[in-house]
Symmetry: D3
Subunit: 172 residues, 6 copies
C-alpha cells in the first residue's frame, strides 16, 4: 500500500455564512461549523484511503473568534498521520477579510476510520509529512493518540512515553 | 447569583435519523450528530445561565457504535460544572432498541461561554452536582480544564495538580 | 400484547427557533411547528407500538401565542389512547421564559397507525392512563374518534353516544 | 373592503418527493406535507387579505393514501370563507399518475388570521364562492367554526344551530 | 407517441422567500432560484414525457429585478419544443405585488432529456404550441438549439440557417 | 483600482453528494449543482471585487456526465473577465475517481454584478489572465458578452465584430 503525502489528501471548502447558520447574535453557530468540518475532513480521509470513512472522534476544537453572517470562510483539511486503519485529520479555518487577506478563526482535529462495506476497519496507507507544519502535526499526532488511549482506559499512563515528555519538560 | 443543580439544566432531544443524515453505508454521519449535540448542549447551558451562550470548545467525542437510518436517538445534555463564565456540558446519546430498552451510543463534552449582547463573557452561577454520576463528572471537569489549558499553552504542566494525579497513580 | 402506560410512550424534543423557521414578523411559522410535532408524536407512537407508524390525521391544533426567533421550545408527546391499530397522541408545547419557568404555547392531537413492512395496519397494545390529565385525555379520545368518524361519514350521529352527551348537557 | 372570489385566492405548488421527505417505508411523511400545506395555504390567505397572515389552527387533515419517493404532488389552496379577521383555507392535494391523470391523496383545512405589524388581528374582505364545490365548502365553514368554538369552550352547544342540524338529521 | 400541447405540460410553484434564501442585502439569491426553477421545469418535462428526466443544459437566465425576503413568487414552466429525446422548457417567474397584481421578475430556459432506468436517452412526444407566445417560443427553440450546437462544436455555422437569419436582418 | 489576476479570485468547494441531492436514479440533480456553483462563483466574484455581488445571468451550463450519490465533487471558480461593474466567472467541476484521479463532469459560466448597499452597480477592477486557459476564456468572454447583448436586444448584430467572426470562418 503506497504511502501518500499530506498534500495529496488536501480537501478545501468555501462557504458563505447564511442566516440559518447563525445564532441570535448573528454569529456562525459552533454546531454548524462542526458539521462542515466533519464533511471536509471526511473528504481528506477518503482521498488518503480511497475507502468509505467514518468519524471516530473529535478532539481539541476551540472556537476563538466569532464568524459573522455573510462572511466567507474556507475550511482546509489534510490527513496529519495514519495509524493502521485510522487517520488523524487536521483542519484550519480562515475567514476572508475586506483587505483581501484572510484570518485564521479555527483549528480542529478529527479522527476517521476507513471501513469496508460491512463497516469493519480496514488498513490505510502511511502518511508522509513534507512541510514543517505537516511534520509538527505528524509528531503531535502520536502524543494525542496516547492521550486519547489513556482517557479511554486503553493505555497505561506509564507507557505513554511521548505524552509524558510534556510533563517532564520542567522541573517539579 | 443562585447556584443551580445539574438536573435543572437538563435538555433532551429525540430525533429520527433521516436519509440526508446518513453516509453511503446508511449510518448517521458524525458531523450531523455533532451539530445536534451542539444545539442540545447549548440549550442546557442557556438554562443554566439564562444568557445567550456560544460554543467555546469540543472535547472527547468518540463515536463507538453506528446509528442506522430510521433509528430514534435521544440526546441528553446537562451542565457538569461551571467556571466563572464558562460551562462544561456533558452529553449522553442513546438509541431506541426493538425490545423497548435503549442503548448508549455516544458520549461527548462541549464547553460554552455565556455572553452579553456585545459578545463579551459574563459570569454564570455555580453548578451543584447531586447524583453520583453528576459528582464524578463535576470532579473530572477540573482535570479536563487543566488539560485544555496546558494544550492551549495557558497553564504550566507542573501547576496542573489534578491532572498530574493521573500519571502518578502507578509507579514508574 | 402487553398494555403500556402513557408515561412509557413519552417523547420529548427541545428546539431553538432559527431564522428559517420564522415568518416576516420574526415568529415561528405554524407549518414548521406542525412538522416538528409530527416527528415527536411519531416517536411516541413508535415507542408504544414498537412498529413503523404513519400519520393518519391531525386534529385540533390551535396556535395561541407567538413563539419568537431564538426562543427555546420543548415538545412533549404521549399516546393518549389506543384503538386496534391506531393511536391518538397528545402534544404539549412549552417555551422557556427568562425567569427559568416555562409557558404553554400550544396543544395538538395527532393520530398514527402502526403498519407492517407492506404498509398494512397492524394491532397495537392498549394504553393505560395513570395521571388525572392522562385519564381525561383518554376519555376525550373516544369522543374525538366518534366525531372524526361522523365527519368522515363512517358513523351515524345517533350512534355517537359519547359525543351526543356534549349537546345534551344543557337544556334546549 | 372589496370582497374577493375564491378563485382570486388560489395558490398552487408542485413538489417532487425527495429522500429526506420520506419515512423508512419510502413514503412522504405527514409532517413534511403539513408544512408544505401550511405555506401554500398561507399564500392563499395572503392573496385574499394582502396582509401578513399567521396560522391560527389546523383541522381535519387526514392522510388516506401513501405518496411515494419521486412522486410529483400538487397542492391547491383556496380561501373557503372569511370571518372578520380569520380565513378558512381549503386544500386539495393530488399526485401525478403514469397515465397523465392525477389522483387525490389528501384534503385539509387550515385557518389563518390577518395581522398588522404588531401582530394584532385586522379585518379581511368577504369571500365570494362561485362553483358548487366552493359554495359547499363556504357553507361547511360555518359548521366547522361553531364546532371549533364549542370545543374551545367559547360557544354553548345550544347556540350552534348549524352544527346541531347534523345530529337532527336522523330520528333518535 | 401522441403529441402534447404546451398547456398540458404546465407546472406551477409558489414560494415564500425565507431568510436562508437571501443574501446580505435581503434579496433572493440567484442559486436558490436556479434550483427551484430546475425542479419546476423538471416537473413540466416529466409531464410531457411521462419519463424520468435529467437536466441537460441551462441557457439565458437573467436576473433583472431583485426579489425580497417575504415576497411570494410563482414559477411557471411549460415545454416549449421537443427534439427526439430532449425538451426545451421555458420558465416565467412573477412576484406578487401589494395591489393584487403580479410583476415578471425572471425568465429562463432549461433543457431536459428523458431517460430510461439505465439513464439512456429515450424518445419523447412532439410539442404542439397553441398561443402566440407558445408559437414564438417554439420557433425560437430551433435557433437556440442551433446556437448551442455551434458553441458545442457539433454544427457548422454555415448550416445554422435559422440562426444566420439574425445576422442577415440588417445590411452590413 | 488595482487589477487582479484570475488566480487571486479562485474559490473552491468540495461536496459529498447526499441523498437529498439526488433524483430517483440516484444521480445529482442539476438544480442542486446550479445552486452550489452559484455560491462558489459568487465567492470568486466577491474576492475579485471585495463587494457584495449578485447573480446577473447564467449561460452555457451543460450537464454531460451523471454524478452519483456518495461521489465527491470539487467546484472551482475563477473570474474570467471584468466589464465595468460585471464579472464573468468560469467554473469547472470535477469528480474524484477511485484511482485517485479526477474527471471533469461540468463547465459553467455565470455573470455577477458588484453592488453597493443600495443594490446599485459599482465599478470593479480589471482582470488579468495569466495561463493559456485563462487567456482563452478572457477572449471568449467578449464574444459571449456580445451574443448576450444581441439576444437581449441591446446590441445590433452588425456591431458584434467579435461574434461575427465565428460565422465568417468558413465560406458560405
Amino acid at each position: 500500500m503506497k504511502a501518500k503525502t499530506a498534500k495529496e489528501t488536501l480537501a478545501q471548502t468555501s462557504k458563505i455564512v447564511l442566516p440559518n447558520d447563525t445564532n441570535v447574535l448573528g454569529n456562525l453557530m459552533g454546531g454548524q461549523l462542526l458539521n462542515w468540518m466533519d464533511i471536509t475532513a471526511g473528504i481528506a480521509a477518503q482521498r488518503h484511503s480511497r475507502r468509505v470513512v467514518v468519524t471516530a472522534s473529535v478532539n481539541n476544537v476551540s472556537f476563538s473568534k466569532p464568524v459573522k453572517l455573510g462572511d466567507v470562510i474556507t475550511i482546509e483539511a489534510k490527513v496529519s498521520r495514519a495509524f493502521t486503519s485510522s487517520m488523524e485529520v487536521y483542519l484550519d479555518v480562515h475567514v476572508d477579510l475586506n483587505n483581501g487577506k484572510t484570518e485564521k478563526v479555527n483549528e480542529a482535529i478529527y479522527t476517521f476510520v476507513a471501513v469496508d462495506q460491512n463497516g469493519s476497519a480496514i488498513e490505510v496507507p502511511d502518511l508522509i509529512p513534507e512541510t514543517d507544519v505537516e511534520k509538527e502535526r505528524f509528531d503531535g499526532a502520536l502524543r494525542r493518540r496516547q492521550l486519547s488511549l489513556i482517557l479511554a482506559g486503553k493505555m497505561k499512563p506509564k507507557d505513554a512515553t511521548e505524552l509524558k515528555a510534556i510533563f517532564d519538560l520542567e522541573p517539579n
